[in-house]
């Protein structure tokens, strides 16, 4: 089992004292090689679920296990490193670093990796560069390595973000509405990449409200008001 969520609860406490139950008793299992899509209307708790699985949003209760480990039991530093080693993220807003070049944005995924995880020294750095270039080449950005994100189209930005997510060969890829801002053509490229990643032995968790996007998944779960529905 690569990812397992057990009875996750998450409630947001609004500033005005109001409470939003974003996740109510959510459980999920995801094996290596699997591509799972979660669909649901806006505000149903999709992003909350994804971030909880992504070790960035601690649940109020319930357990999160990734590769058999409990990230929320770890120290925050250890969890950060764990995240760098095991997880890749793709977001609707791309979240590229504006002042880094396309290549550097991909390589930024290496910064957090501790020494000895294949990211140190001149040779390793060259390896990183080669792999980053290859990924970008693969996503049709081979001639855009030195450009900044602001010089790219939305589709190109998302492809750059995909390359970044894949650089560290994560076990689990978490995609939050990755096609939300893209044209059909680029959407197809992204979904194909996710599929390929799963086929290559990785696990993909995609959250989206887009029916089209979920067609690439092995399994589609429906969510409403913080719960899976039939």
């Amino acid at each position: 089992m690569l990812l397992e969520l057990r009875g996750i609860h998450k409630t947001y406490h609004g500033a005005a004292g109001g409470q939003v139950q974003a996740l109510r008793d959510v459980s999920l299992q995801l094996d290596a090689g699997q591509f799972v899509a979660i669909r649901g209307p806006s505000g149903c708790g999709k992003s909350s679920l994804l971030l909880t699985a992504g070790t960035l949003l601690a649940p109020d209760s319930g357990e999160v296990l990734i590769q058999g480990e409990q990230p929320y039991q770890m120290s925050s530093d250890r969890r950060a490193t764990f995240r760098a080693e095991q997880l890749g993220f793709v977001f609707q807003q791309f979240h590229l670093v504006p002042y880094l070049s396309v290549l550097e944005n991909v390589l930024a995924a290496r910064i957090a990796l501790p020494v000895g995880v294949g990211s140190t020294g001149g040779a390793a750095e060259n390896d990183d560069q080669r792999r980053a270039s290859e990924l970008l080449e693969q996503f049709g950005l081979g001639d855009r390595l030195g450009h900044t994100p602001s010089q790219l189209s939305s589709g190109e930005r998302q492809r750059c973000a995909l390359a970044r997510a894949l650089l560290n060969r994560p076990a689990l890829l978490l995609a939050d509405e990755p096609t939300g801002n893209l044209d059909p053509e680029n959407s197809a490229i992204v979904l194909r990449a996710l599929r390929q990643f799963a086929d290559g032995g990785g696990a993909v968790l995609l959250v989206t409200h887009d029916e089209q996007a979920s067609t690439a998944a092995d399994r589609v779960l429906h969510m409403n008001s913080g719960q899976f529905v039939a």
């Binding site: 992504g54 925050s76 993220f89 807003q93 979240h95 670093v97 930024a108 910064i111 957090a112 990183d128």
Partner: protein
């Protein structure tokens, strides 16, 4: 890729905000360096000014001291002459002569035999050196209708038991005349001129300068001629005894000795010219000493005034520095802090994704504090350089730097100032780090989930 890469790239990307931070810190550093420079320059200038003043007054005082010393030496020499060489003079008069007459008119009327002088000369008297038999009478110069004192002198009577000393008063040769100041002034006499005196012809041989005594109304001629004019052949009025070996109170001894040889005479002490000169010199020495004391007082006062003025100026500058420096530091901290907070707010998305990529809290902190430290180093060094140049310019062109030696050389020789120069960039780094600390901590504490949720 390294974390430092993030710092340098971000700085290059947002040059303006970084530039503003650097500027704020540089301004603070400039204020620190300039203030320290001004205060130290003050102290240096004070030293220079005061020591120059000191040297100047010392020179003046040294000159005064020299004058006083010279006056003292003059006096000492005069006293030595007076006491040893000249001693003091005594006048031997007939017993019945009232000395008051001499004091009142400079003239004498009682006489004694001229042989008294020879008798004294032949005696074994030890206490006196030179003997001058004289006639001394106030007369009217008939040809000129002028009252004068006629002084007949014949030079010294040799003291038999001793080798003849160099005469202290020259005799006046027969037919010659020595004329006091008032007389030759009134009559317009010239040396070598012939005058008629009581029907006799005299040649003016010496014209005395003004002495401010009866000397000014005195005519000196040969004793014999004077005795003839006055009808006092073989008679004299007085014997002047000069250069008595009588330092201290030996006058009574002289009196006793003379009374034994010349009965019917009296001995009076003469207020000698040597003494008058000594008194004048004493007075000169006193005046010089007083003027020295006054000068010392005045220069001490001047120095004190200058010192007070400098102290006031320094205090003023220090006061300004004490207000300006904290103010500038506070403003710099505020500016850097605001800029840092703005920067963090601007980079929320970036922080979120970096956290998602596994950056630890300490690494996020490092990114922001590293930037602050960099701005501190650059701003600090820049501030020191600008402060140095500015301070130099101010003291060079505007200030009243008192010497040719450039201020910078003097300041750089002072370890305290060098310490300021070296410590200012360090302080600037601390300042920047402190000012950015809250913002960096806020960045590190930022919840990635909130940003990444796709707000």
């Amino acid at each position: 890729m390294k974390l430092t890469h993030l710092i340098t790239r971000e700085i290059a990307h947002r040059k303006l905000t970084f530039g503003l931070s650097v500027l704020a810190i540089a301004v603070a550093a400039v204020a620190l360096v300039a203030a320290d420079m001004v205060v130290r320059a003050d102290a240096l200038a004070t030293d220079r000014i005061l020591s120059a003043k000191q040297a100047e007054t010392e020179e003046v005082l040294a000159e005064k001291v020299r004058v006083v010393a010279a006056a003292g030496a003059d006096l000492e020499e005069a006293m030595r002459k007076h006491m040893k060489g000249l001693g003091f003079n005594v006048l031997i008069l007939p017993e019945q002569q009232d000395p008051a007459e001499l004091h009142l008119s400079g003239s004498l009327s009682e006489t004694m035999p001229a042989s008294y002088a020879d008798r004294l000369g032949d005696s074994s008297i030890m206490t006196i050196n030179h003997l001058l038999p004289t006639v001394l009478k106030q007369v009217k110069w008939p040809e000129q209708e002028l009252d004068v004192i006629l002084y007949g002198t014949r030079g010294e009577v040799p003291l038999m038991h001793r080798a003849l000393k160099k005469p202290v008063l020259d005799a006046v040769a027969p037919g010659q005349m020595v004329v006091g100041w008032s007389i030759h002034q009134k009559l317009g006499l010239q040396v070598g001129q012939e005058v008629e005196f009581f029907g006799r012809k005299f040649t003016v041989s010496v014209l005395h300068p003004e002495r401010g005594s009866t000397d000014d109304v005195t005519l000196w001629i040969d004793l014999n001629q004077a005795q003839e004019i006055l009808g006092l052949q073989n008679l004299i009025h007085a014997i002047l005894a000069l250069e008595c070996d009588c330092a201290g109170d030996r006058i009574s001894e002289i009196r006793r000795e003379i009374a034994g040889i010349l009965p019917g005479t009296q001995v009076i002490e003469r207020h000698s010219q040597a003494l008058a000169r000594a008194e004048a010199r004493t007075k000169a020495k006193l005046v010089a000493e007083e003027s020295l004391a006054a000068e010392q007082e005045a220069s001490a006062a001047t120095l004190a005034r200058e010192r007070a003025a400098r102290a006031e100026l320094e205090a003023q500058h220090q006061q300004v520095a004490q207000v300006v420096i904290p103010l500038v530091l506070l403003l710099a901290v505020a500016a850097v802090g605001v800029l840092a907070f703005n920067n963090v707010r601007y980079r929320r998305e970036e922080i979120g994704i970096l956290r998602a990529l596994g950056l630890r809290t300490s690494q996020v902190l490092y990114v922001f504090l590293g930037k602050a430290v960099l701005s501190g180093i650059i701003g600090g060094v820049l501030g020191v350089v600008i402060g140095l140049l500015g301070g130099w310019a101010v003291t060079h062109w505007v200030g009243d730097w008192p010497t040719d030696s450039p201020l910078l050389n003097d300041l750089l020789a002072s370890p305290g100032f060098v310490f300021t120069l070296l410590s200012t960039p360090v302080l600037a780094v601390v300042l920047a780090a402190v000012a950015s600390w809250l913002a960096a901590a806020a960045a590190a504490a930022q919840d990635a989930a909130v940003v990444l949720q796709g707000e």
